[in-house]
């Protein structure tokens, strides 16, 4: 550890932190300020109304519906991507020729820009000639064409995003699996444990810290993820996929009610932080 001239370390930080301050710290504070105003571009007014915007939302069903949709979205997405990612990691954990190649292949969904993923899956779920309907028809599972995006929009966006997210779980799990000491597994095998026992009593406990960290990250990233839903369904149809981030965007940039949107954004942040703290304390219990 260096103890150089006193000002020097701060100097090194200055470039990055100036920008971070402008980009993040300042906006958060400014956002709180905006949320206390009735500020609408259409009305061209800006009047101080204190916490009225917050009360408006707490009484407004829009917020609660959005919250429920957001919870469903996050739960399904994280869950699906977790199982797929974990499963693939277990397969890729065994040494075999070409393993690096296949692992790299699994990364591709994560590499693809979110907008592109949304479009690709919109194409897959397309009613007339989307791949999903074609496969279902060829396998004679259904006779009629399902309009996925209109009837099951949440399902579509979840599948699209889980496809994008699972590589992260795979990479994390693989890293975790590599860190399990092989002596423990060998000892257990000598004691007569079968594969399921080893998985439950050795693999999972070792994986837990990594999976928890990965889980928190994925949950945070997914909760407010805007791109996928906006490009696939714009939040519809009839707001059935309107998560909180979509709602904030709509209120701010379709209706231009900045004060309200700012209040909603603040509520969103509080919920995020509360959820994470809850999540962490829940897991500390074991």
């Amino acid at each position: 550890m260096k103890q150089g001239k006193r000002a020097l370390p701060y100097f090194w930080l200055l470039p990055s932190y100036t920008i971070i301050f402008i980009l993040i710290v300042f906006p958060v504070l400014y956002n709180m300020y905006i949320s206390t105003y009735d500020w609408s571009l259409i009305k061209q007014t800006k009047t101080f109304i204190g916490l009225s915007n917050y009360l408006y939302f707490l009484k407004n069903p829009q917020l609660w519906e959005s919250l429920i949709i957001t919870i469903k979205w996050v739960g399904a997405d994280v869950g699906l991507s977790f199982f797929v990612g974990l499963g693939l990691a277990l397969i890729l954990n065994k040494k075999f020729y070409g393993r690096e190649f296949f692992t790299a292949l699994m990364f591709i969904p994560w590499m693809i820009p979110g907008v592109v993923t949304a479009l690709l899956w919109r194409w897959m779920f397309q009613t007339d000639i989307g791949m999903i309907n074609i496969i279902l028809k060829e396998l004679h599972i259904t006779s009629s064409k399902i309009d996925w995006l209109s009837e099951f929009p949440l399902f579509c966006v979840v599948v699209g995003d889980a496809w994008r997210t699972f590589p992260f779980w795979t990479v994390m799990t693989l890293a975790g699996l590599k860190s399990i000491p092989s002596e423990e597994i060998e000892a257990a095998q000598l004691d007569g444990a079968n594969k399921i026992d080893i998985f439950r009593h050795i693999t999972l406990p070792h994986l837990k810290p990594i999976l928890v960290t990965a889980g928190i990250l994925v949950t945070i990233w997914t909760t407010n993820y805007f791109d996928m839903i906006y490009v696939m369904t714009r939040g519809g149809p009839i707001n059935r996929t309107r998560t909180i981030s979509l709602l904030i965007y709509q209120i701010g940039f379709n209706y231009y009610r900045f004060g309200q949107a700012a209040a909603l954004a603040f509520i969103d942040s509080i919920i995020m932080i509360a959820a994470i703290l809850l999540y962490l304390s829940f897991l500390r219990k074991d």
Binding site: M1, K2, Q3, L8, P9, Y10, W12, L13, P15, I19, I20, L23, I24, F26, P27, V28, Y30, N31, Y33, I34, I91, F96, F102, A104, L105, M106, F107, I108, P109, M111, I112, P113, G114, V115, V116, T117, L119, L120, W121, W123, M124, D128, I129, M131, A175, I210, I220, T223, N224, F226, D227, V231, S245, I248, Y249, G252, F258, A265, S269, M272
Partner: protein, 283 residues
């Protein structure tokens, strides 16, 4: 005895073949959306809506030509390259400095400032969208390259600093100390020892920053309304509205948008995958 050995070996062979087949099928399913998109982009327009047959009668680049000439993708591509490259260089450069400071120096507020990084990662982008929009609007900076560059530097810096710090931590400080004893300056030690040794880590972070900024959508959507300044993600989004749903053109645009990232990835995949796991576990 020999028969038993033969049976075991054949059994093994079958299992191997079965395993590889299984792996290929899974890989195919996983990649199918992307493969199908690329295939669609190479089909002549008349054939796109006549599926089955899945494969095109001949491969054509007409969708790509259309998208670059009439679809405006040349300018979208140019805008994305300019904005994202500049932002990446600035982010990684500044983040290296900041990460070095956290890694090597002890100073007041060190812990707090570092924790700030983690907190920024928790924030929903929507909560800074509106104040930033109003702020840039007041300054008249909407619809400029600069506004996007600054934004991208801002939102990728925290994680870049965090990851770089863990790479720098892995390099023993004794190396710099002996260089300084030999007459090297502090900055010299930084540039000539730390940077070269942590090159893979820096490479991984650079790729990560580039990819994150390349696909950024929300801020580009909100801050830029001038069609000549649009980035690729927004160009794609707008393409749907402008041209009805011309799936051939859309898939061509989508493939173009993915190319730089793919190229990066293919060349540097080992660096990237290794880098992300190491950094994440250490952090």
């Amino acid at each position: 005895m020999k028969v038993l050995m033969k049976r075991l070996l054949i059994g093994r062979l079958f299992r191997n073949i079965f395993f590889y087949l299984f792996l290929c099928v899974i890989s195919f399913f996983i990649l199918s959306p992307f493969l199908w998109g690329v295939l669609t982009s190479l089909k002549p327009k008349e054939e796109i809506f006549h599926v089955p047959p899945l494969l095109p009668s001949h491969i054509t680049l007409e969708n790509y030509f259309q998208v670059f000439s009439v679809g405006g993708f040349t300018s979208y591509f140019k805008n994305s390259i300019i904005v994202v490259s500049i932002a990446t260089i600035i982010t990684v450069g500044c983040a290296c400095l900041a990460a070095y400071s956290f890694s090597r120096y002890k100073f007041r507020g060190r812990g707090t400032l570092f924790v700030t990084i983690l907190i920024t990662q928790l924030l929903p982008m929507a909560s800074i969208l509106i104040p930033l929009f109003l702020f840039w609007n007041t300054l008249g900076m909407l619809n400029t390259y600069l506004v996007l560059i600054i934004t991208y530097v801002g939102f990728t810096s925290p994680l870049a600093i965090w990851l770089l710090k863990s790479y720098f931590d892995a390099i023993p400080i004794e190396l710099e100390e002996s260089a300084i004893i030999d007459g090297c300056s502090s900055i010299g030690a930084f540039l000539r020892i730390v940077i070269p040794l942590s090159a893979p880590g820096i490479g991984a972070v650079t790729i990560y920053v580039f990819i994150a900024a390349w696909q950024e959508f929300l801020f580009a959507l909100t801050f830029i309304s001038d069609s000549s300044l649009r980035t690729l993600p927004i160009g794609l989004n707008v393409f749907i509205q402008q041209h009805g749903i011309d799936w051939g053109g859309l898939m061509a645009g989508a493939t173009i948008s993915t190319m730089p990232v793919m190229i990066f990835f293919v060349i540097l995949r080992r660096t990237f995958i290794g880098g992300i796991t190491r950094g994440a576990i250490k952090g």
